[in-house]
């Protein structure tokens, strides 16, 4: 049971970070390999605020999301938007460049070591039930992620902004024609995706650790979630993250000699038989 719980918690964390990628990659059709870099920025902002400035942890989280969103907007306005219509290869190369640069920059400012994170007391400790040990931080994580999941889902499918976003993605020309400011929608969406990455990165420091190698170490996981879940589908990302989290934790716990092999194998098989993902709609392009 504990394994299952830990799996769900790590799946939720994965969801929190990758749902941002699902937004940019899935909805905006931009292969953004630098997504892990945004999460890393969030993580560093959170750690710095917490350890150096003494800001309370709960205030650090939204600040990390905000800071990352600002970075995201700055990059989107200056660089990303030039590549919306470029080929996937160009997008891959560009975001790889960003990954390399962000890794070096973080190493320059913070050094190569792992960053320590001191959780506040009320998030430490465990709740022990018979046969089940639940870390309080993990419970907190699950609660936040579920909240975000519902919020996002209702935003994309229920609000005016969500409708405008879907219209802009499906057919930018017509969307412009009916008076939607597509550029602004894309900027806002990109900011949202970055904010989610930042929030996920900040919350993930405790479980994933934080060092300059972060973007490369975990990008594969984020991509798997989006690929398996079906890009642009929030429910899909949630389900895929949960499966991935549980399988990963259980696999490492019960059959450590197999490691992550199973996950990659499952992803490849998945992609071959359902290229559009579990819940995906076909790519607009």
């Amino acid at each position: 049971m504990t394994v299952l719980f830990d799996g769900i918690a790590s799946g939720m964390l994965l969801f929190l970070i990758s749902v941002g990628l699902s937004v940019t990659l899935g909805l905006m059709n931009f292969v953004n390999l630098a997504h892990g870099s945004f999460a890393m920025v969030g993580g560093y902002v959170c750690v710095t605020l917490l350890n150096k400035a003494g800001v309370p942890f709960l205030a650090c989280l939204p600040l990390a999301a905000l800071a990352t969103a600002l970075v995201g907007v700055a990059l989107e306005r200056t660089l990303y938007r030039r590549l919306y219509t470029a080929t996937h290869l160009d997008q891959v190369l560009f975001s790889l460049a960003l990954v390399f640069m962000s890794m070096s920059a973080m190493q320059y400012f913070f050094g190569a070591q792992q960053q320590p994170l001191n959780l506040p007391d009320f998030l430490k400790g465990q709740i022990n039930l018979p046969g089940l040990d639940m870390g309080i931080y993990r419970l907190f994580l699950i609660a936040v992620s579920l909240l975000i999941a519902f919020g996002l889902q209702s935003m994309v499918s229920g609000t005016r902004f969500g409708a405008q976003l879907r219209a802009s993605v499906d057919n930018p020309r017509t969307a412009r024609g009916v008076g939607i400011n597509v550029e602004r929608i894309f900027t806002l969406t990109f900011a949202l995706g970055s904010a989610l990455a930042g929030l996920g990165g900040a919350m993930g420091v405790e479980m994933l650790g934080l060092d300059p190698g972060f973007p490369v170490k975990y990008i594969v996981y984020f991509l798997i979630v989006v690929a398996v879940g079906g890009s642009g589908s929030i429910t899909g990302s949630l389900v895929a993250s949960l499966i991935l989290g549980v399988v990963d934790v259980a696999g490492k716990y019960y059959v450590p000699q197999v490691g992550s092999f199973v996950i990659y194998a499952v992803m490849v098989v998945m992609l071959v038989f359902r290229p559009q993902g579990l819940f995906g709609r076909m790519a607009a392009r």
Binding site: F94, A97, V99, G259, F261, A265, L271
Partner: protein, 331 residues
């Protein structure tokens, strides 16, 4: 009734070697005498150039996007390394077996890769490479895991040229293999087969109408590219007599993409030049500040993607077109 005749002369002429190309291939000879102390680095350049050439075949010519090309490099390296560490130290047959192993893997995975569009291809190639990485990581009793594969002992090439400490044999061995493989690749891309591959990249819908079996052709070039990468990996294992786990890493695949784009994909000399520029820059920059050279690397790549999509080769072509306005250099 008239018979449609097509002038094939320009295509046949493209196959002929130009003076500049012969001059380019004198560089290895020159390098040997100018940098006798840096033979190890030059050998690395040759190996990376071969690896880059293999990616160029599948990405530059066939347009198949790959984020996991290191899979084939790594498999080649481990194949050659394992052969040699189990007593089969003969280098040339080692290369052949490595090429075969990577080629077979390439063929099998081509069936998976060709099913999807760009994004799926990225993920499948990445997934295959990560699977191999995990395998090599976990099967410590075969591969040595994180510690790397040790105990590789090479026999002399043709029974006469032994691998020495300074790396002279390794240098010539790698350069000759590179040249031969390059020559073959050059023949290949100028052959009707190679032209059909280019045609598929340029207009995938029209090629079946011309009678070219698209999937079979792509599978073939992917297999060939994989075998090339396997040879490069094998060379790496044989000349350094060590295989590190990082031959299979994501970093290596990503870096290779970068090198190819730097040189200019879709041109064989682009792959060569990109490798030379990249490795030289790496050498110089990492001497200056070892930890942050990746930053400049990223900056370089970003500029290329945004402003100079054809890389070094494209720049040279523009320059050549300006100097010699009547004909465009396009090998």
């Amino acid at each position: 009734m008239s018979i449609v005749s097509i002038d094939l002369a320009p295509l046949q002429r493209a196959d002929r070697w130009r003076v500049a190309e012969w001059a380019f291939w004198l560089l290895p000879v020159l390098g040997y005498f100018v940098f006798p102390d840096n033979l190890v680095l030059l050998t690395q350049i040759a190996i990376t150039a071969l690896f880059c050439l293999s990616l160029d075949l599948i990405l530059g010519y066939a347009g198949i996007v790959s984020l996991g090309h290191a899979a084939f490099f790594g498999l080649g390296a481990y194949t050659a390394g394992l052969l040699a560490s189990h007593g089969w130290g003969e280098p040339l047959s080692g290369l052949a077996v490595a090429a075969l192993a990577s080629g077979v893997l390439g063929f099998i995975t081509s069936l998976l890769v060709l099913r999807g569009a760009d994004l799926t291809r990225l993920m499948v190639t990445l997934g295959v490479a990560m699977m191999l990485f995990e395998l090599a990581n976990k099967l410590t009793f075969i591969t040595g895991g994180v510690d790397g594969l040790q105990g590789i002992e090479m026999k002399p090439i043709f029974g006469t040229f032994g691998f020495d400490m300074v790396g002279k044999t390794a240098y010539w061995y790698s350069m000759v293999v590179l040249f031969l493989m390059f020559w073959a690749a050059r023949k290949l891309v100028h052959s009707p087969f190679g032209l059909s591959i280019k045609g598929i990249r340029l207009n995938v819908a029209r090629m079946p109408a011309l009678g070219a079996p698209v999937n079979a052709r792509l599978a073939a070039i992917y297999t060939i590219g994989a075998a090339y990468a396997g040879v490069a990996g094998a060379l790496m294992a044989q000349t350094t007599q060590f295989v590190a786990l990082d031959v299979l890493s994501f970093n290596r695949s990503a870096e290779l993409l970068l090198i190819l784009v730097l040189g200019g994909s879709g041109s064989l000399y682009g792959a060569m030049l990109g490798t030379i520029v990249f490795m030289a820059a790496h050498h110089v920059l990492s001497d200056m500040n070892p930890e942050y050279w990746q930053f400049w690397l990223g900056a370089m790549l970003m500029l290329i993607v945004l402003f100079a999509r054809d890389g070094v080769m494209g720049g040279l072509r523009t320059a050549a077109a300006r100097l010699v306005p009547r004909k465009l250099a396009a090998p």
